[in-house]
Symmetry: C2
Subunit: 149 residues, 2 copies
């Protein structure tokens, strides 16, 4: 159980694992998102996609699903900013109806040298499908507040 | 000028640079996107954000803007799939009204060893603001079709 006031820098334990989800991909949400931001036929054209195993989710949509699942974890008061992502990989297609779960493993933490109220926290995020196969994974580095600077 | 039928593997020249944009961030689009996917106060709460220089764009929204600008370049027929991103960094905040331009520099290309109809193409994408400062950058690796396999 995370602390009642949310997860702060002090609560991050390198090696610990958090889970969120599942999130079942709604077809209408996927196609509307793709139409707005990444309208390739494989994402928006059901007839075209039928010959290729069906519609696939844009990578950007999978990142969006990751954010939606992250927001079910109690970071809202502590994340200051995202520094960036590394090693982001799209391992296999995700499609409408797939139930995606998020696995987060903390990989690193250190205090900021210049600002005593914050630290730098890194984690590996993986979206898995219902078969337990990785769909997307990346390393994520954020600035996070200390509860008690 | 790109070829009339679009950019295929053969057209990628390592070191060449492409440009797209500008895209001016609409405040309503930014806040609606953030409300759906990353509803942190710095992205959705104008009163909260006023004390911090104003609303900032979620990193995910900046990636979405990158996709919208990429779709003004003629890759639609040739991109098969995204392999992944590396070294994605959010360098400085972007805010409503900012005019973002995309700069793409091809960094690598090679034929697929197993499939003769495609190759692997890498590029560095940078979103710049109107002051020419980098807002976001990353390396992007995609599978791209050959025009004449």
């Amino acid at each position: 159980m995370p602390p009642a006031d949310g997860i702060y820098f002090e609560d991050v334990v390198v090696g610990a694992v958090l889970h969120a989800g599942p999130y079942v991909i709604p077809e209408a949400e996927l196609t509307a998102f793709a139409a707005a931001w990444d309208p390739l036929p494989m994402h928006v054209d059901k007839a075209y996609a039928a010959a290729h195993g069906g519609l696939t989710a844009p990578g950007l949509y999978l990142l969006a699903v990751k954010f939606r699942l992250v927001h079910t974890l109690p970071f809202q008061n502590s994340v200051i900013a995202s520094i960036g992502y590394d090693e982001l990989r799209f391992h296999r297609p995700a499609r409408p109806g797939d139930a995606l779960t998020l696995e987060l493993t903390w990989t690193d933490k250190r205090r900021s040298r210049s600002k005593p109220d914050r630290g730098i926290v890194a984690g590996r995020y993986t979206l898995n499908n219902a078969q337990g196969e990785a769909v997307m994974s990346h390393l994520d580095t954020v600035l996070m507040r200390l509860r008690q600077p």
